[in-house]
Structure formats: structure tokens, C-alpha cells
Amino acid sequence: MFDTIPSATGDDAAAQAIVTALTRPQSGTALLTVAGEIDTVTAPHLEVALDTLVGATDGTLVADLTGITFLASSGLAVLIQAAHRADRSGRRLRLVVSGRQVRRPLEITGTDQLFDMYTDRASAGLACDD
């Protein structure tokens, strides 16, 4: 039902700057919620969290990035890898993105094309029973 993702690097700075939680809000759906700043220090932590997400279910994958306040290219790279991993099992990762801090880097680099983008959880298919 619920997993915590241990700090990948054991790095205190990384643990301080981001919080991740993986939940299964409904059957067949895994949801990763991320809060904080994603840069070279914290990207490895996000990478582990996304790997866990993609491996968590054969069903729908949702990453809620609403709480991210900064996204560097290292964070984009990790998201792109996750998109490729999901793609290998024929799925597209759903991203929930509401603010400029995340949408801007995704759009300006064209990275948003790799994902199904949503502005809130409900439109990403959450809070609905499958």
C-alpha cells in the first residue's frame, strides 16, 4: 500500500531539500509525490524515487510534481530516463504540473512531449475509481 523511499545517496543535504512519497491511491495506479528543489544534489534521490514508481505497478503511473519549486537539467534528465523506462513497458508517465517553476523547464526543452501532462490530480485520473 505504501513505501517510503530511503535517501539514495544518504546525503543529508538531499534529504533536506526534497520529500518524496509513493502511494497507491487506487488499484492499478501508483502515485509519486515530490516536493522541493531538484538540482544536481537532489536529482539522484528523485531518480531512485522514479525508478521505484515505474517498478511499482503494471498499471498507471502518476508523478505529482506540484510541490517542486525548482527543476534543473539534472532533474529533467532523470525525468527523461523515467519516461524511457515507462515507454519500454508501453506506458506514458503522467505528470501533474501546476506552476511555472516546473512547466517552464519542461516546455522550453521540449521534454513535456515525453509525458502526458495534467494541471491537477483529478484530471490525471486520480480520485476516480478504476
Binding site: 538540482d39 534543473a72 517552464r104
Partner: protein, 146 residues
């Protein structure tokens, strides 16, 4: 920050003002530098996308350079704030005179997308001291206000 009413601090100093930040070359200090970048851009009345872009570009430049910096060396980041944009120079000390940053990476492509101009700076010996490597980038404030 409420004590500053002018949105154009640059105008107060013959069109250009300079802010320099010096830290140890450590990834853990980059958040501080990018906070300075976004604060300067907001005060220079960049549009909100240009503020985000500059913050991300400065982060990228610093992260790239911290990777090649000599152990226990310093990072120097200089902002030249003009009316129409900000030029940023980030420099670190390196061990090898031949050290440089690679420009065929994903990060560099992102940097080129974010900034209006970007170059690698190399100074084999700076001030008779250790060689340095740097990145210069220029970001315009965005389309002119109406």
C-alpha cells in the same frame, strides 16, 4: 526587500551595476547563488519566464563548473545588471591548465536554450595563480514592456 522601491537598480549606477558572489566550489551552495540570480532578475524587471530561465541557467553553469573545479577551491559568480539584461560570469579554479567544460552534453544544450548567449571562458593562468575555467552567459529581460 521592501526597502527598495526602484524596479531598476541598474539605472542608479550609470546603467550598469555589479554584484559578485564568492563561495567554495560546492554543489551545496548553488541554491544560494541561484537565489541571488532570481532576485536580481526580479528587481531588474525581467518577465517571469526570463526570471525562471536565468535562475536555471545560473544553476546549470555553476553545477557544470563545480564538477571540474579543483578540490577546496572557490567559485566566483559575477552579475553585471544592465537595463535590458544581465550578463553572468561564473569561474572556478582548476588543477589542470587544459581543463575545460564539455559542450556536447544535455546540460549544455539546456543552457544554450535558456540563455541568449553562452560561451566557455578559459584562462590558463589567472593573476599568476591557478588556471581557471568559466562560463559567460547573457540573458535579456524579455520583450519590452508595453
Amino acid at each position: 526587500m521592501s526597502d527598495l522601491d526602484s524596479p531598476h537598480p541598474a539605472e542608479t549606477l550609470d546603467g550598469v551595476s555589479t554584484v559578485e558572489v564568492r563561495t567554495s566550489a560546492s554543489a551545496a551552495l548553488i541554491p544560494t547563488i541561484r537565489a541571488v540570480a532570481s532576485d536580481l532578475a526580479a528587481r531588474a524587471d525581467f518577465d517571469l519566464d526570463a526570471i525562471s530561465d536565468l535562475r536555471m541557467a545560473v544553476d546549470e553553469a555553476c553545477a557544470t563548473l563545480v564538477d571540474v573545479a579543483a578540490p577546496r577551491s572557490a567559485l566566483r559568480c559575477t552579475f553585471h545588471v544592465r537595463v535590458d539584461g544581465i550578463e553572468v560570469r561564473v569561474e572556478v579554479e582548476v588543477d589542470e591548465p587544459a581543463a575545460t567544460v564539455s559542450t556536447d552534453t544535455f546540460g549544455w544544450r539546456v543552457l544554450q536554450t535558456l540563455a541568449d548567449e553562452v560561451d566557455v571562458l578559459a584562462a590558463p593562468t589567472a593573476d599568476g595563480g591557478r588556471p581557471t575555467v568559466g562560463i559567460r552567459l547573457d540573458k535579456l529581460a524579455g520583450d519590452p514592456p508595453r
